[in-house]
């Protein structure tokens, strides 16, 4: 599986993503700087977490308008796989590749902690290694992860099974207390209609090694290998 990781100024989970992709695919991803004009042909493009352009103005706004992002959009339009983690998810909504927006957390505070996620749809290139309804624990670390979409959009996303992950409690129940940021319907990650783009706030790339406290993130990467190979 050939992959590329896009690096914007002040991306800061790029290395974590590169390490995870290399560990799992056995190949070093292409590292693409935001001003690069071309992305070599790859099976997957990853937009990593961080604070691209300082998260100034709106999270992901400036990155979404970077030259390289046009190439990401072209890749996605051709049906290529794209994932956006955290800041990457924010960028994907800013480009319009995914619907909705990520607003300031309801608490107004940055939140970093382990979050229990329920896999809502295991029939995607990003979740097929999990089973539907499975509860996994993956850390979140963000200031703006409060997913918003208007009623109509939300209905469409839900109706089409496009919620990939939802915040739940340890027992798998969707509760207010288990929602770390105020997201509508406890949404932690969504896919597009064509199922080739996924955006999610939690960080699976931080949980691929036992010493990191668990390996619940591995399935995420395994899914893509399953889908692509």
């Amino acid at each position: 599986m050939k992959t590329a990781v896009i690096v914007f100024p002040a991306s800061n989970c790029d290395r974590d993503m590169i390490v995870a992709l290399e560990k799992i695919t056995g190949h070093k991803p292409h590292i693409i700087w935001h001003q690069d004009e071309e992305i070599p042909p790859v099976d997957l493009i990853a937009l990593p977490g961080g604070f691209s352009f300082g998260d100034y103005l709106r999270c992901g706004a400036m990155a979404a308008r970077s030259p390289v992002t046009k190439k990401v959009i072209e890749h996605a339009d051709r049906g290529g796989n794209v994932i956006g983690i955290c800041n990457g998810f924010q960028i994907l909504t800013e480009t319009g590749l995914l619907p909705g927006a990520l607003m300031r957390n309801e608490s107004l505070k940055f939140v970093c902690k382990d979050a229990a996620l329920r896999v809502e749809n295991s029939d995607t290139p990003f979740t097929n290694a999990y089973s539907e309804g499975q509860v996994i624990t993956v850390p979140v670390a963000h200031h703006d992860g409060n997913y918003f979409a208007d009623d109509e959009t939300l209905k469409a996303i839900e109706g089409e099974g496009r919620v990939a992950f939802r915040y739940v409690d340890d027992a798998g129940q969707m509760t207010k207390a288990s929602n770390p940021n105020g997201s509508r319907n406890n949404i932690a990650g969504i896919i597009n209609r064509r199922k080739n783009i996924l955006g999610m706030m939690p960080h699976p790339e931080r949980l691929i090694d036992d010493v990191q406290g668990g390996t619940d993130g591995l399935g995420f990467f395994q899914s893509m290998i399953n889908a692509i190979n």
Binding site: V111, C112, Q212
Partner: protein, 740 residues
Amino acid sequence: MTPKIKWNNNVNITPALVKEHGLSDDEYALCLKILGRTPTLTELGIFSVMWSEHCSYKSSKLHLKTLPTKAPWVIHGPGENAGVIDIGDNQAIIFKMESHNHPSYIEPYQGAATGVGGILRDVFTMGARPIANMNALRFGAPDHPKTRHLLSGVVEGIGGYGNCVGVPTVGGETNFHSSYNGNILVNAMNVGLADQDKIFLSAAAGIGNPVIYVGSKTGRDGIHGATMASTEFTEDTEEKRPTVQVGDPFTEKLLIEACLELMSTDMVVAIQDMGAAGLTSSSVEMASGGGVGFAFNLDMVPQREEGMTPYEMMLSESQERMLIVLKPGREAEAKEIFDRWDLDFAVIGVITDTGNLTLTFKGEIVADIPTQPLADNSPEYDRPWVKTAPKADLKPADVAAPEDMKQALLKMIGSPNLCSRDWIWQQYDTQVMADTIQKPGGDAAVVRIHGTNKAVAITTDCTPRYCHADPFEGGKQAVAETWRNLTAVGATPLAITDCLNFGNPERPEIMGQFVGCIEGMREACIALDYPVVSGNVSLYNETNGTGIHPTPAIGGVGLFKDSSKMVTIAPKAEGEILILIGETRGHLGASLYLDVMEGREEGRPPPVNLALEKKNGDFVRVQINEDRISACHDISDGGLYVALAEMVMASEIGMDITIDNGNTPLHAYAFGEDQGRYILSVSPEYRDEVLRNARADGVTAQVIGKTTGASLTLTAADPISMSELIGTHQNWMPDYMSID
């Protein structure tokens, strides 16, 4: 259009002006002697900041020199931007702690944020990639009207900066005490990783080499009171400007990447961040350190505001700036790197053989100061001091037993100084870089050395109530506690950094506290073979004649050659045996129990027996490294029962404890803060071996119970359920902070 400059550098230097710049008569006389003439206004400003307490360490130098700074693994001790230690395989750990107390009180968010930014620069300027942030915080009493606002702003600022630059904040400490009501302490520590053959120092060299300014533009930020005084001389009638510095973590992140990229080439001769006193101290340190002169054309300095004067440019504390000496002819190549990262890059001068800092502005020389005398002859005071009077001993019998042990323990773990810090660290990205293998909540944070099996353990500690009661014992204890916390996770302690926060050194009592703490630190460092490699002093933390509790915050760093040896405070299973290491006498003097339960602050602090400390710690470390221990926790604030409760909460496995307190009253045994103690949790198969090894090493060890069930059952206390324990521990801070 640029307004016409009405700057006049040749103002009359009156005694009043000298005084406003904080220079004493003697200091000014020395300044005249060094120059051989009256200073210009710019020069006066430069002398003033260079000889300020903050930059010159004039009150503390004499005593700091007594601290041990050497060990075979120390590569660079104090004197560089940060301390450097050898961790094998050509790798080095570079670390330092620094205060940002005053700015954080004025503007908590920006003050704390720029504190983090500053300490990051101290570390990456030496060629290290920052890998972990720590923060040691002290706030006033919870019921003081400012505390909530300050806590909220400081934590948000630390997170706001550290999270954005992508360095995990992995631990720290947080105290509340009324002595900080008017002077909070915000001490930030950073730890970085470098290759030993890629360590950069600040001493400039090479006559004719270009001197480069990179990073943010210079504005009028943070120019001290002195500037306010000088406004009348600039004929500049603009509104009074705030002196608060605003941090730009985005630019810092770019600066880190650009500087590390530059340092991976062979272009750099010397590099130095612009910290306190900005361009002045960085250039004086670089020039005097290398025995050379600098000639700057200040017109070349990137400026954010119009009409900036040389005085303002030299004293500005705008953030996110660096000064670099390049090899000749490499400017274009270097500029390319900074262009790619969208950072300002300007050649502002050259190295000269004059030994002087020569500043030109609009074609006129505005300052010409010999740097060597300016740096080396900075004042040094042997300030009068008096020894802190010893406190009377407090016997266990002098402290009433609680009516109900269970309620007493709950009150302790739900008190401001012992409750969970979740509310704080959840606002920090503790895991970015994906190498954090022990998060906040344990005895020390542990961060893996990327791509290796090695890891560093990091902790910050100080118990100001002890330092206040007995500076010598308190200083000793602060060092020993960091050593103990590193040991408790299984790491080998290597070295410390410190941040010495005290009141007004011109008061002999305060100076006595300072001297006492240093002496105690020194003894502990020597006994534990644990040198000081960097540090920072913050004096005058005082309002209306009331100083803070003496607070020598210590940041300790230890190493794992094999990170799989690490343990946490959480027992792994039911049925494990709990072994108490060390002697328990029930010392309640200056304890948290006395404070929380009786509102008293009395008595001597628990003495630290350094020989025992070392023996117990070495024993514990060996047991951990030989895989016999499944969890370990040192006993600190709140004593044995609190430590046990913390282990139960971390594992969510209960305990059944039976104490043999002999002649010691049970509450003193349970809550006393005797030093040098640990609790080990071992699976039954290792029980006898651990006890046997302890006996062989002459270490006091006794079995006190086992892990079992879902509640904590303690001698003479009703069982406490997990939910009661965790709820009480976790709720205080969120509840406190939700009251607007």
